[in-house]
């Protein structure tokens, strides 16, 4: 019976292997299978977490929050399942997910393996820069062959994107935690400008360990095949920061706010990489000034609008007065 199950699993692995080999360059199926894997693990976790959680409060932000926390719980499990080789049962042969979406938790998916290698490679970035050598060194440190760098079609861009995704996830966790504290009444809600400043500062500080090599990373992100992914990461980062800052707008403000924050973030990042002041004080001062600029612009825009409205009303009044004086306003 056990032999039969093992045979079935091997058959499934082979089928998965053949399907992945057939489409080595397509990233979407991989992403889909990754999410299905997370989803299955997540469903089990969601059941447990949701069945004993009471219905939540009336706040609109809590809904998304619950989903986020359930998802982060499942990601923690998946992450711990793919922890560094130290405590995981060594299984260097990666097997691929079968088509039904069921994931056996002893087997690792290709995405998880890639994530493991890239995380390990980050240790070697200061030595080798953001390059294939760093990835090869990372693979070797996990006991894998350095030829596994062949898995990464975008080369060192993959490493940078992985690092950015990691930083974004960390920031979202921090912001979610702060949000929770405010919901529970354990912390005071910050003003929007302060919140944005703290969020951007926290996020940029994650680059400090790699700041020497960061210009290289930024130029890697500018390569045409990396641009879509880096823009996607940037836009999700901006959306997350604004969401936790309390933005719930559903009109053009949605776009203008995110565009403004993108400008602030990108310019501050550029200032940071050539900043030599102690603890990057100049960068944070620059950030403060930029945020203040945006706040001032918003205030000015409001003033202009209300002035405009007052002027229009004045003109309408004048027009009605003229019509009255000339007798055009009489109704018969």
């Amino acid at each position: 019976m056990a032999a039969l199950l093992r045979g079935l699993r091997a058959g499934r692995a082979l089928r998965g292997l053949s399907s992945v080999v057939a489409a080595p360059t397509a990233t979407n199926p991989q992403c889909g299978s990754l999410r299905r894997g997370f989803h299955c693990a997540g469903l089990r976790l969601q059941d447990e977490s949701k069945s004993d959680k009471p219905p939540s409060s009336t706040s609109s932000s809590t809904t998304y929050h619950e989903h986020y926390q359930a998802r982060s719980a499942e990601q923690d499990t998946a992450a711990s399942a793919s922890d560094p080789a130290a405590d995981q049962s060594t299984n260097p042969n990666t097997s691929y997910q079968d088509q039904s979406g069921e994931q056996d938790e002893e087997y690792e998916t290709e995405e998880q393996l890639q994530a493991r290698i890239l995380t390990a490679a980050l240790e070697f970035v200061l030595l080798h820069g953001w390059s294939m050598e760093a990835i090869a060194a990372g693979a070797e440190s996990l006991g894998l062959s350095s030829a596994s760098t062949g898995m990464f079609e975008k080369g060192s861009g993959d490493l940078v994107l992985h690092f950015i995704a990691q930083c974004n996830a960390q920031l979202t966790e921090i912001l979610a935690e702060q949000h929770n504290q405010v919901q529970l009444g354990q912390a005071e809600p910050k003003k929007t400008a302060d919140f944005i400043r703290d969020a951007v500062e926290t996020r940029l500080r994650m680059y400090i360990p790699y700041i020497e090599t960061w210009p290289q990373a930024m130029s890697l992100l500018m390569l045409p095949h990396n641009i879509p992914d880096s823009l996607k990461h940037l836009s999700t980062l901006m959306d997350d920061i604004w969401y936790y800052a309390g933005d719930r707008s559903t009109d053009m403000n949605w776009y203008t706010k995110r565009a403004a924050l993108t400008g602030i973030y990108n310019t501050t990042e550029l200032v940071m990489i050539q900043d030599s002041s102690p603890d990057y004080q100049d960068t944070w001062a620059f950030l403060d000034n930029r945020i203040q600029d945006v706040v001032n612009m918003a205030t000015t825009a409001k003033q202009v609008q209300s002035t405009g409205e007052a002027v229009v009303q004045g003109l309408m009044g004048a027009a009605v007065t003229l019509k009255n004086l000339t007798g055009l306003n009489q109704r018969r």
């Binding site: 059941d47 009336t58 809904t63 719930r248």
Partner: protein, 222 residues
């Protein structure tokens, strides 16, 4: 009545226990909330395809209600003080409620609104005002055309959701059905107020409906 129907869904025998637990929790949550709350209208998406589909639907619905709002605003600007004013005002108030509900849903689920909103702002107002300049019949004809387009659009969304999974999208289906019924009522009101008497009714109606179709197509994507 809504809550009773939802409780019925809760006790519906389902083979998938996870969905049942989620439904029951949503039922409990909904009965504790005010009926205007958008909490729990959209189920948490299972994967990015579903999220994309649902977000697209919500985006275009939001754009549609926003446009309808502006059309009625344009009509009121011209005909507000005539005797059809109160009828247009009533329909406008219902559209305002629809827009409010969609604003809540979008904010709740972090859906990106369409980038063309300023364009729909101006275009809607212009359409409403120019159709009202043709007189009361013109305004009513515009209403008939727009409401017919919107009704058709909501119906196709209802069909899509029913095909996919009616139980999963119960609340969303409820919202869309309710709004669709309101729009049909507006359509009938328009017909009752001599919409068909406007000269060039067929031409006007089809031109407006063509514009609505283009607007829906574009708002889904941008």
């Amino acid at each position: 009545m809504q809550t009773a129907a939802l409780r019925a869904f809760c006790h519906w025998p389902q083979s998938n226990s996870t969905a049942m637990i989620r439904q029951c929790l949503k039922c409990r949550a909904l009965t504790l909330q005010q009926s205007s709350r958008a909490y729990g209208v959209i189920p948490p998406p299972r994967d990015s395809e579903e999220k994309e589909m649902v977000h697209r639907m919500l985006r275009v619905d939001h754009a549609g209600e926003y446009g309808a709002n502006r059309i009625y605003a344009g009509q009121m600007a011209v005909l507000g003080r005539s005797k059809t004013g109160p009828f247009i005002q009533e329909m406008w108030d219902q559209e305002k409620k629809h827009l409010e509900k969609f604003n809540e849903i979008l904010a709740e689920n972090r859906v990106r609104p369409t980038a063309l909103l300023p364009f729909w702002n101006i275009a809607g107002f212009a359409l409403g005002a120019s159709s009202a300049l043709l007189g009361k019949e013109g305004a009513m004809a515009c209403t008939v055309a727009v409401e017919e387009s919107i009704t058709e659009h909501y119906n196709s969304q209802i069909r899509t959701l029913m095909e996919k999974d009616p139980e999963r999208y119960t609340e969303l289906l409820q919202v869309i059905k309710e709004f669709r019924d309101d729009e049909m009522e507006h359509h009938d009101t328009g017909l009752a107020h001599d919409a068909e008497n406007v000269p060039g009714y067929w031409l006007l109606k089809n031109a407006i409906q063509l514009g609505c179709k283009a607007a829906i197509y574009v708002s889904q994507r941008i």
